[in-house]
């Protein structure tokens, strides 16, 4: 194997000199790794395959003479939403073809998308349910698994309460699966239900929603084709969202656009920018205020836009004045002249868009970062038009949908709050008594001087974020603000290696009484520890093995067909959750309005019927108009949608006038035929053409200043000034209630009871209010101002605060992290940790700033992609990128083994060094997709035989450290300190 690899290597270096014309060209990440040889578990023999031939004939892309079925699904990796066209023969997925008609990917894929067929070959998949018994993995039946798990859950509920069980769901679920998981937690009686949005864009959702209404990407990947200026900040889309670059690069070429990449690392995206700006990790707010300093100083702001549509910009302006170029350079490392150039370009060469990802969000100041970005857009009038906007690239294939469907500790589906009103809304939709849910929640006793909570109060209290579950397991029970500690994790489709402080995660796992992993792969939840008993692995099918809908980053919802039946003994999420509900005794109530269909192992809820239930309750976010029929028509008519506007011509059958995927909000019932909203808050078009404006959701005035828009409303609105959200009272005031049909009115009166006036656009189950309001050209949620200042959040005007582990202790006095506080049922002692780090001289002993990120060939925790042989071959080793100067000081050679150590838990990881200028001096980068090694030791033996990923490696999150955003519990994944030494 080793020798054989050499032939490839020789070819490679030849190739390199051929293209470069240089024998000494810098080696890239892959040649470096190949040169470093192969230490690939389990595949050593595979390379000897195929002596002269490609492969043995079996289920190959062509079975001669066998009929080919074409099925369309959606890639299950990132949020771009690429259509996957599968060829199926005899029930086997035998080929993958380009999907030319998809306006999103137009035939293309990245390395991950082009290899998804391998996922249902599944040689490394979990094949049947298993449990750990006396330290051994043993095969069990599904029925036994459910009954044992069910019994244990009931026992835990009795002894420690409903909150002792954590439901960790998935951004890989369909919308219907996400919804089901949230509903399951509601019936179980806990708000500790979460998914990957916590660790990728929770701070985005909070920051953006608190600025202008909804926490989502405002425009679309396609729309960036219109942008004249693009800023990427903490986003490496070339690796994380490769197909988005098709639109961005094409747009850049056609518009001669300016593309700026702000990042501590010269990324693959930076390589295609017009200008790269290197910044220090964790200084985003200082950077943005530095840009806005130049904008305000030169009068480049869009004052008309600010006057009509923004509240509180003067306070931001005052803050920006303090951020002089010298001060900014001192904090961020960016020269003033460079920022001035960015500022002028962004403010004057419009439309301009701002793109961010986890480089911005995964910080103790994540929510504040996001609000600073929004402020830059608001100050320059770059929101609500083509080519502008906050283009937030979400991570996983359905992280937007799972967020929307409330797989979250602090809200119910479609952003209905945990308030009584929110619960009553969903109780009404589900036709289940509100009091039933109250009865399911724990009473919380008074602890450590904190007040007790009634069941109803507990039902309205956010749960524990996924970043802190192990704290709730390990902390003293008095410190955990619920009935008892966390005792069980039910993990459905979620990696375990994606949160910091892994040594403590390991301890947390060991302390649990029950651990259930529902996943196509074991994940690090199964391999990090050696729990002798009480661990179950249940094989879930991928989304290629079931149907449903998923929401891309741009809010387009795509319906996908099952390509093949679940392989081996895998089962769909729908069936698994149905069976769990059965075992827990509430299936009948939970599925009372859901149509059941015959699945692989018996009856399971139909995705169509689940979506219809979502439609019936999805008014607040406009998830009400996207019926399964409409979404299916979109998939069948992909070729009708324009590449740039995403709109179908008015005369196209079935989809005429619609935007592709009916991007939410898609108001009213499906019969209203709202086209969906391509660009949020776009007042240049009629609401029935996808128009809108900022959402007033923070009251009508503040400090005597109106929070409604001034002198402006969307095209065609009969109210030509700001207006509040629509309730029956407002409708009556305007005399528009007469437009309601008798049926609509009767529904409103029935649900309104003695307060019909309070029934609103977001609670009216008839959809009548939305329909009537739109007939008058108005937006159901009202017409308000965006908020430059979010007075309800910590740091209403975002403040720069140094990372907890900062290389600049001299700045901590002026920019300390926030004070210790209790958040989400556990303490957040960031301030104490920051002080202790300085007292202990951590910045001297751990002088290198460590950041983390994605590689193109892997995704998330990486178990699935590292199990895919076509991807695994491309990236066989975990590594750390280190600057040549730092490497030279430490005697580290390119390709050599090094120990990376972190300031907490005596953490250390043995990885290979990639010596490169990609990172600046004093900075290092590690990818976060690796697991299966722990402090220098392989844990391959902890996986059930045959399910270990091909490639294993050390977790970066062994090294990453304490730090949590106060608004969402987001972890600090991008700015910590480490030391590196040759191993």
């Amino acid at each position: 194997m080793l020798v054989k690899r050499k032939s490839g290597q020789a070819g490679r270096s030849r190739l390199q000199s051929a293209v470069a014309g240089l024998a000494s060209a810098t080696l890239d990440r892959r040649s470096f790794l190949k040169r470093s040889g192969l230490a690939v578990g389990g595949l050593a023999a595979a390379g000897t395959l195929g002596a002269g031939t490609v492969r043995k004939a079996a289920a190959g892309p062509m079975m001669e003479g066998v009929e080919v079925d074409i099925r369309k699904n959606i890639c299950t990796h990132c949020s771009v939403g690429c259509t996957v066209t599968a060829e199926v023969q005899n029930g086997v997925w035998t080929g993958q073809e380009p999907s030319w008609n998809s306006p999103i990917n137009r035939g293309t894929h990245c390395a991950k998308g082009a290899s998804v067929r391998e996922l249902v070959h599944g040689d490394r998949r979990l094949k049947y349910p298993m449990k750990r018994q006396n330290g051994e993995w043993v095969r069990i039946s599904w029925d036994d698994a459910f009954s044992e798990i069910g019994q244990k859950l009931v026992e835990l509920r009795e002894n420690s309460g409903a909150d002792s069980v954590y439901w960790l769901g998935s951004a890989k679920f369909s919308n219907e699966g996400s919804y089901l998981c949230r509903k399951l937690a509601a019936f179980w009686g806990t708000n500790s239900v979460d998914h990957q949005a916590r660790i990728c864009h929770s701070t985005t959702v909070a920051g953006v929603a608190n600025t202008w209404g909804y926490g989502a990407m405002t425009n679309s990947y396609n729309d960036i084709r219109n942008s004249k200026t693009v800023i990427f900040m903490g986003s490496n889309a070339a690796e994380a969202h490769p197909v988005s670059l098709q639109h961005i690069l094409s747009g850049k070429e056609q518009q001669q656009a300016n593309v700026f990449v702000f990042d501590p690392r010269f990324t693959r995206t930076a390589a295609h920018a017009t200008e790269y700006v290197r910044m220090r990790s964790g200084t985003d707010i200082a950077v943005i205020w530095g840009i806005m300093h130049h904008i305000f100083a030169n009068g480049w702001e869009d004052q008309d836009f600010i006057d009509a549509r923004v509240f509180g910009m003067d306070e931001v302006r005052a803050e920006c004045e303090k951020w002089t170029p010298e001060r900014v350079e001192n904090v961020t490392g960016i020269p003033g002249e460079q920022l001035r150039r960015v500022a002028e370009t962004f403010a004057t060469q419009k439309p301009a868009t701002f793109i961010w990802c986890m480089g911005g969000t995964q910080h103790t100041v994540g929510t504040a970062n996001v609000r600073a970005y929004c402020n830059l857009l608001l100050a320059t009038g770059n929101v609500g038009k083509a080519g502008t906007g906050a283009n937030i690239f979400r991570g996983h294939c359905n992280v937007q949908g799972a967020t929307d469907l409330g797989l979250d500790i602090s809200n119910l589906p479609l952003y209905y709050g945990l308030t009584e009103g929110g619960w009553r809304h969903w109780s009404r939709v589900w036709e289940v008594d509100y009091d039933y849910f109250v009865s399911r929640f724990d009473e919380v006793p008074a602890k450590a001087g904190r007040e007790a909570r009634t069941r109803e109060q507990n039902m309205q209290t956010p749960g524990i974020p996924s970043t802190r579950w192990f704290d709730a397991t390990l902390l003293d029970a008095e410190e955990v603000d619920q009935r008892d500690n966390l005792k069980a994790m039910i993990v459905l489709g979620h990696g375990g290696n994606t949160v910091p402080r892994q040594p403590e995660v390991k301890a947390g796992l060991e302390a649990l009484e029950l651990l259930v992993v529902v996943d196509p792969h074991p994940t690090s939840f199964a391999s990090l520890h050696a729990r002798p008993d009480g661990t179950y692995l249940l094989p879930a099918a991928t989304q290629f093995e079931c149907n449903g809908s998923r929401t891309c980053s741009n809010r387009s919802i795509q319906w996908y067909e099952k390509i093949v039946d679940p392989i081996f003994e895998s089962a769909t999420d729908y069936w698994i959750m149905y069976r769990l509900a059965q075992e827990l005794g509430f299936a009948e109530e939970m599925f009372k309005n859901i149509e059941m269909v015959e699945g692989k192992f018996g009856p399971e809820p139909s995705a169509e019927s689940l979506l219809r239930e979502i439609n019936r309750g999805g008014w607040s976010t406009g998830y009400c108009g996207q019926s399964p029929e409409r979404l299916k028509a979109h998939m069948a008519n992909q070729d009708k949608f324009d590449l740039v506007t995403l709109r179908a011509p008015a005369d196209a059958p079935d989809v005429g006038g619609d935007f592709y995927g009916l991007p939410w909000p898609c108001w009213g019932t499906p019969e209203v035929r709202h086209p969906g909203t391509h660009i949020l808050y776009n007042s240049e078009v009629h609401v029935m053409d996808g128009g809108g404006n900022f959402r007033p959701r923070f009251g009508l005035e503040r400090d005597g200043v109106t929070l409604l828009a001034e002198g402006t409303s969307s095209v065609g609105a009969e109210l030509d000034d700001g207006y509040p959200e629509f309730t029956m009272a407002v409708l009556r005031e305007l005399g528009w209630d007469g437009d309601l049909t008798a049926e609509e009115l009767s529904q409103i009166e029935r649900q309104g009871g003695d307060d019909v006036d309070a029934v609103s656009w977001s609670t009216d189950l008839s959809g009548g209010i939305q329909r009537v309001v739109m007939e008058h050209g108005c937006v159901p949620f009202g017409n308000g101002k965006a908020r430059a200042v979010a007075w309800n959040l910590p740091d209403p005007v975002p403040q720069h605060r140094e990372p907890i582990y900062t290389p600049r202790p001299d700045l901590v006095a002026e920019f300390p992290t926030r004070d210790d506080a209790r958040e989400f049922r556990v303490p957040n002692i960031g301030h104490t940790v920051q002080q202790a780090a300085i007292d202990k001289g951590i910045p001297e002993s751990f002088p290198i700033v460590l950041t983390s990120g994605r590689l193109v060939e892997y995704e998330g925790g990486g178990e699935e992609t590292r199990s895919n042989r076509w991807l695994a071959e491309l990236q066989q080793d975990m590594f750390v990128e280190i600057n040549p100067a730092d490497a030279a000081e430490r005697g580290i050679t390119d390709g050599g083994w090094v120990w990376v150590t972190g300031p907490e838990n005596d953490s250390r990881a043995r990885v290979k060094a990639l010596v490169t200028e990609r990172v600046g001096k004093g900075a290092a980068f590690m990818p976060f997709h690796f697991a299966g090694w722990y402090q220098g030791e392989s844990q391959r033996g902890n996986y059930p035989e045959g399910t270990d990923p091909i490639v294993l490696g050390e977790m970066v999150n062994q090294i990453t450290t304490y730090g949590y955003d106060p608004v969402t519990g987001m972890h600090e994944g991008k700015a910590t300190l480490c030391q590196i030494e040759a191993a």
Partner: protein, 198 residues
Amino acid sequence: MARMKFLCDADRCIECNACVTACKNEHEVPWGINRRRVVTINDGLPGERSVSMACMHCTDAPCASVCPVDCFYTTADAVVLHSKDLCIGCGYCFYACPFGAPQYPKVGNFGSRGKMDKCTYCAGGPEADMTMAEYEKYGANRLAEGKLPLCAEMCSTKALLAGDGEIIAEIYRERVTTRGYGSGAWGWQTAYQETINV
């Protein structure tokens, strides 16, 4: 008669490796054999560029001229194919190829490397088109199906072009004209003894 070519627009290539895994997927290419690869120069430095490379299906292919058993042949579309039945695994073609395209399942001395494998332009080999026999040895024959190499068809940013040399040259020319820059048609001078003038 259309002349098949590959063209990688290095200003579009983001080194996503879709071309590599698409190839693996389409032909079930085993671990260790890489018919297509992405090469990055100036990695991590300003000026970093990536190019997707495979057999370029050269005019007057040097591999064919050194092959002692004459296993190569060029189709009327100018696709360079070879017969694995004739190949003796000597490795001469590997040394002759300016792009390092030929791959061998084993490393060894003369004759013990196993049959050479390389990009077929998704056009199979000497067995009858679109048969299992052809697939086993050479992979899919997309060209005969009225399609193009899957690597190019699936390229994330539309960087890798394949098809009629004149049409793809025209597409590339249009890009260079529109955007005002272009790193040139990588490898064309070597493979086709020509370049694209804009």
